[in-house]
Symmetry: C2
Subunit: 250 residues, 2 copies
Amino acid sequence: MQLQTASHATRTAAPAPCTAAALSPDELLDLLKISLDGLNIDPGTSFTLRRVRQGVALYRAGDLFGPIYAVRSGTFKSVLLDAEGSYQVLGFPMAGDVLGLDGIEAQHYRTEALALEDSEVAIIPLPRLAHLGGKAGDLQHFVYKLLSRQLAREHMQMWLLGSLGAESRVAAFLLILGERYAHLGYSNTRFNLRMTRLDLGSFLGLTQETVSRALSRFDEAGVIQVHNKELRLFDVDGLQQIVANARHAA
Amino acid sequence: MQLQTASHATRTAAPAPCTAAALSPDELLDLLKISLDGLNIDPGTSFTLRRVRQGVALYRAGDLFGPIYAVRSGTFKSVLLDAEGSYQVLGFPMAGDVLGLDGIEAQHYRTEALALEDSEVAIIPLPRLAHLGGKAGDLQHFVYKLLSRQLAREHMQMWLLGSLGAESRVAAFLLILGERYAHLGYSNTRFNLRMTRLDLGSFLGLTQETVSRALSRFDEAGVIQVHNKELRLFDVDGLQQIVANARHAA
DNA sequence: CGCAAAGTTGAGGGATATCAACGAGTGTGG
DNA sequence: CCACACTCGTTGATATCCCTCAACTTTGCG
């Protein structure tokens, strides 16, 4: 039985018959779900694709800032590294998400992005784009939206970390992940957890044991079914109920 | 004895003799500590100032997106509101910080910004700026840097929430706040906590009691001295030590 | 003065980290 | 093919951190 792998390359509008490893501007905007009325980037522009194998870093903390990346397929983990090697997972970017936005200011990446499975990204050469874009205002809006979206997402995350208990965090994470998969055209009730429990714990501010226990508890309760990384959501309402039972939600 | 109030209006380069309530482009860039080589915004452009009284909201969640704001003096709290009234403090913007960046994409603010003391902000009319800016690339970089900086700050915050224990969080907060005051030209060892313990707790993912206890403990240990909102840091190294004693720092 | 909001302090318990042992999955080399 | 090592995941017992609840004090303000 083949699990969901990164084989949905045809899902995101690939009209060019002989696909050189590149995306057109329209394809990129479609991937990122950004609509810019009357955006006129030179249609001749193309965004080259890059394949990243599982476990390989797309960029590392401290690297000189270069392009930003739009995930086309697969899953990454974005990690903030402490000086002494301790680390904090910041998120799990998937298709349609953007990587590398931090680092624009300091001109070097502050985080590290690792592929959790074989993945593909479209390279967006921000510095060069600034010059060849069509109407300037449109292009500004493009990146504004990317950044603003990222900010909104991180706000949600802080809310999650700041006001929910352990089980609520895990439940919220599962729901959000399901929604993201649904947004990509997959089932929102059956998918795979591509990250380890440890990474999930780091992301949620919990230990791997607590994450594991929460999942087991949900499983016992019949709300979900979890076997290793395979996951099925049976009772979405039940999960939302658990999220609502936040610990110290003012 | 007069405490530090918002009376440093002359600190941030106000060469224009008869200051109408407005800032020049140069003054704004200086305030934000952003250097753009050869940026040529029309020098005729001016950014009007707005006074915000303590307790007044600069904008509210759901408001139609308008300008973004650069804090010139005072302190704000940025709050994410849940549907049912529960809320999460996202930060405490001070002079040089920018407010309202979220909401660019959705075209309405997602958060709420309240003044913790009488404050001043410079209004940056993002939509209009897009057209009258000088060379397009420069202006892009301007906002890119703002957004990127904000992202980096939120990454730090997630690290704080995700990997530190209660006392470490409070200690880290005090150190960071001290650095910010130092950056503004104030003492980094003697300043005021403009926010309530409740807000601080929300920001740090703790209860007000835990915050209060941590401060009291630091006081007893002689590391700081706290009386109400007045605060003095005696032993910065000691605080850093406490931060280093993180609970589950991998 | 009197009231409301903010802050402090204590007692107690629940939630979650820690420590430890084990099982399951995976890749490697003999 | 199997033994081995290694990572990942699960489960249990225990300790501890921090939240909850409660009473009280202090501050600020009309």
